[in-house]
C-alpha cells in the first residue's frame, strides 16, 4: 500500500487532491459526479459575513485554453453557510477547508469567529479575488497589508490559517514571506490572473466587470513557476493550483514544492477531474515505485 497522505498544519489529508475555491460550490452540485469521500479536501466557495449578490452578467468568458470569471464572490453569508453547506459536508469523510472573504478586516474576523465552533478543518483566507472592489485583493497585493490581515485573522482563528495569494504581484516570494512572518500556517496559490477579453464586433468588454480572473490549463506554467518561487522562500506548506487537469499536472506542482494541490476551472470542463487526478497519482506512484507521496514534494532539480 502506497502512502498518499499529506499533512498541513497538523491536519492529515488522505490524499493531496483538493478542490479550488469557487469551482466546486460546497460540493453539492458535484456529488452526482464525484464521491466526495475520495477527495483530500473540499475547499468551499468564498463566504462572507453577510450575503453578497456578486457582479452583473456576463460573468464568464472563454479564452484560449482557459476562461475568465468575474463572479464577484456571490455567496449566502456565513449563517446560511454554516446551517446548510457545512451540514451537508459533515456527512462526508473528507477534510473541509472554508474560503473566507470580506471587505474589511472586521468582516473576515466575524466569519472566522463564527467558524471557530464548527468542525471545519482549516480556513483559507481569500486576499486575492481580483473581481471585487473592496477588500479581498486590496489585502493581497502589498506585503504590509497582507501581514496585517494575517496577524489579525490568526488572533481569532481556532483553525489553522491558509493565506490564498494572488499572482498579480511583482514578487510572489516577498508575499509568501510576509504571510509566513505574520503567522500563516500555510499558503495557497495561485488565484486567478487579472485579464480581459474584448468583443471586437461590439467594441465592448465581454465581461460586464470589464476585467476578470483567468484560470484553466493556459495559466499552469505561470502557476508552477510561482509555486516553485514561493517554496524556495518559505518553510510553511503550500497548496498549489492553477490549471491542473490531470495527475501529471498535480505531480508537477508537488515537485515544484506543493504539499497539496487543487483542481479548479477543470471541474467545469470535466466534472470527474478531481477523482481522475486522485487515481492518476496512485498509478504514478505505483509505476514509479514511490512509497510516500511526500517524497515528491519539492524534489525538482
Amino acid at each position: 500500500m502506497r502512502d498518499t497522505t499529506v499533512k498541513i498544519a497538523g491536519v492529515t489529508f488522505k490524499n493531496p487532491v483538493m478542490t479550488g475555491s469557487g469551482t466546486f460550490g460546497s460540493g453539492m452540485e458535484y456529488q452526482e459526479f464525484v464521491d466526495l469521500n475520495q477527495l483530500g479536501a473540499v475547499v468551499t466557495k468564498g463566504v462572507a459575513n453577510v450575503a453578497w449578490p456578486g457582479n452583473p452578467t456576463p460573468r464568464v468568458a472563454e479564452v484560449y485554453g482557459g476562461m475568465l470569471n468575474a463572479i464577484g464572490l456571490q455567496n449566502p453569508g456565513i449563517d446560511v453557510f454554516i446551517e446548510r453547506d457545512l451540514k451537508f459536508l459533515e456527512q462526508y469523510d473528507t477534510r473541509v477547508i472554508v474560503n473566507v472573504c470580506g471587505k474589511t478586516i472586521e468582516d473576515y474576523i466575524e466569519v472566522v469567529e463564527k467558524l471557530g465552533d464548527t468542525k471545519v478543518d482549516l480556513l483559507e483566507i481569500n486576499v486575492s479575488c481580483p473581481n471585487v472592489k473592496e477588500g479581498a485583493i486590496a489585502f493581497g497585493q502589498r506585503c504590509d497589508a497582507l501581514e496585517q490581515i494575517t496577524r489579525e485573522v490568526k488572533k481569532y482563528a481556532k483553525q489553522p490559517v491558509i493565506m490564498k495569494l494572488s499572482p498579480n504581484v511583482t514578487d510572489i516570494s516577498e508575499m509568501a514571506k510576509a504571510a509566513e512572518a505574520a503567522g500563516a500556517d500555510a499558503i495557497s496559490l495561485i488565484n486567478t490572473l487579472t485579464a480581459a477579453k474584448i468583443d471586437i464586433y461590439k467594441r465592448k468588454f465581454v465581461l460586464a466587470n470589464k476585467t476578470g480572473g483567468m484560470s484553466g490549463p493556459a495559466i499552469k506554467p505561470v502557476a508552477v513557476r510561482m509555486v516553485y518561487q514561493a517554496a524556495q522562500a518559505v518553510k510553511i506548506p503550500i497548496i498549489g493550483m492553477g490549471g491542473i487537469a490531470t495527475a501529471e499536472d498535480a505531480i508537477e506542482f508537488m515537485m515544484a514544492g506543493a504539499t497539496a494541490v487543487a483542481v479548479g476551472a477543470m471541474n467545469f470542463v470535466n466534472p470527474y477531474a478531481t477523482i481522475e487526478v486522485v487515481k492518476g497519482i496512485e498509478e504514478f506512484m505505483e509505476s514509479q515505485k514511490i512509497e510516500r507521496i511526500t517524497d515528491l514534494i519539492g524534489c525538482v532539480q
Binding site: G22, T23, F24, G25, E29, Y30, E32, F33, K45, A51, W52, P53, G54, T57, P58, R59, V60, A61, E62, Y64, G65, G66, M67, N69, I71, Q74, N75, P76, G77, V80, G216, P217, A265, N267, F268, V269, N270, P271, Y272
Partner: protein, 258 residues
C-alpha cells in the same frame, strides 16, 4: 432521475437546415431522461475551447435514445460541431436544466412563441403538450427552419424580419395582428422578445414561461456564472439571483427581472 453525467454520444446524422443553422441527431442514453426546455453541454474536441456549449433540446426520441439538437454556428465551438459526421463520437454533459412545466398547460389555450434560435426548443414542447396550441415563430427571412414540423401540433403563425413570409416584423407583431386567445404562454428567443412577452403577459394577466440564456461555465450550478435577477429570494445565495443553468433555464416571467 438518474443524475447528470458526462458521456460520449454518437452522431446519427447532421444537416444544415438554414444559413448557419444545423440539425444534429445524437444517440445517447441521456435521451431517456430528457424533456422539453432542458439542455445539454456539448464539448468541442479542440482543447483550446474548454467549456461545454449549452444547447437546448429540440426533440427527444426516447425509444431510440435520440436527442436532436438544432443550433446556430456562433463561434469556434459550434463551428466544430457543424463538421461532425455520422458515426463520430462527441462528449456531452446532461441532462441539464429544469425544462418547461407541461402540467400547467393541460387542456388550456396556450401560445408557444419561438424567435430565431429560440424556435427549436419549442418543438419538443409542442409534442409533449396536451393543449390547444397556437405556435408563433419568428424568423429573419424566408428560411423557416422547423416550421413544417410544428404543423401537426397546432395552428402555426409566422413573422419574418424582412417581411418575405408571414407578417413583417417579429412574434409580437403577430400577436398584435391576430390577437390570439391564450391562458398561458411558453417562449424562447432573444432577450428583447422575451421582455416584450413578459410585458404582454403582465398586461393580459396570464402566466408566461420564458426560457432564458446566459454565458455559462459549469452548467451544473456551481460556478454562479449564469445568474438572472429575480423578484424573489433565490434558494442558493439568498440574494435574488437565480442560476439559469439549474434553477432555469425556464422561469415564470413574473419571477425574473429581465
Amino acid at each position: 432521475m438518474a443524475g447528470k453525467k458526462k458521456v460520449l454520444a454518437k452522431v446519427v446524422k447532421q444537416e444544415q437546415i438554414a444559413n448557419g443553422i444545423f440539425d444534429l441527431w445524437l444517440q445517447t442514453d441521456l435521451a431517456k431522461e430528457a424533456a422539453s426546455g432542458q439542455f445539454v453541454g456539448v464539448y468541442p474536441r479542440d482543447k483550446s475551447n474548454l467549456l461545454p456549449r449549452p444547447i437546448s433540446i429540440c426533440e427527444v426520441k426516447k425509444e431510440e435514445s435520440i436527442l436532436r439538437l438544432v443550433y446556430r454556428v456562433q463561434g469556434e465551438g459550434t463551428k466544430e460541431f457543424s463538421q461532425l459526421e455520422p458515426g463520430e463520437d462527441i462528449w456531452i454533459l446532461g441532462i441539464l436544466g429544469n425544462g418547461f412545466s407541461k402540467e400547467e398547460g393541460k387542456g388550456k389555450k396556450v401560445l408557444l412563441m419561438g424567435g430565431g434560435i429560440g424556435v427549436p426548443p419549442m418543438l419538443q414542447l409542442a409534442k409533449e403538450l396536451e393543449a390547444e396550441s397556437t405556435v408563433i415563430l419568428g424568423y429573419r427571412n424566408e428560411e423557416l427552419f422547423l416550421k413544417k414540423e410544428f404543423e401537426p401540433y397546432g395552428k402555426v403563425l409566422t413573422a419574418t424580419e424582412d417581411g418575405s413570409v408571414g407578417i413583417k416584423g417579429n412574434v409580437m407583431n403577430v400577436i398584435e395582428k391576430e390577437q390570439p386567445e391564450a391562458d398561458l404562454i411558453y417562449a424562447c428567443g432573444p432577450l428583447p422578445m422575451l421582455k416584450a412577452i413578459k410585458e404582454y403577459a403582465a398586461k393580459k394577466n396570464i402566466p408566461a414561461y420564458l426560457s432564458l440564456e446566459e454565458r455559462m461555465a459549469c452548467g451544473v450550478g456551481a460556478c454562479l456564472g449564469c445568474v438572472c435577477k429575480t423578484t424573489k429570494k433565490d434558494h442558493h445565495s439568498h440574494v435574488d439571483n437565480a442560476r439559469i443553468c439549474t434553477d432555469g433555464p425556464v422561469f415564470l416571467a413574473e419571477d425574473v427581472l429581465i
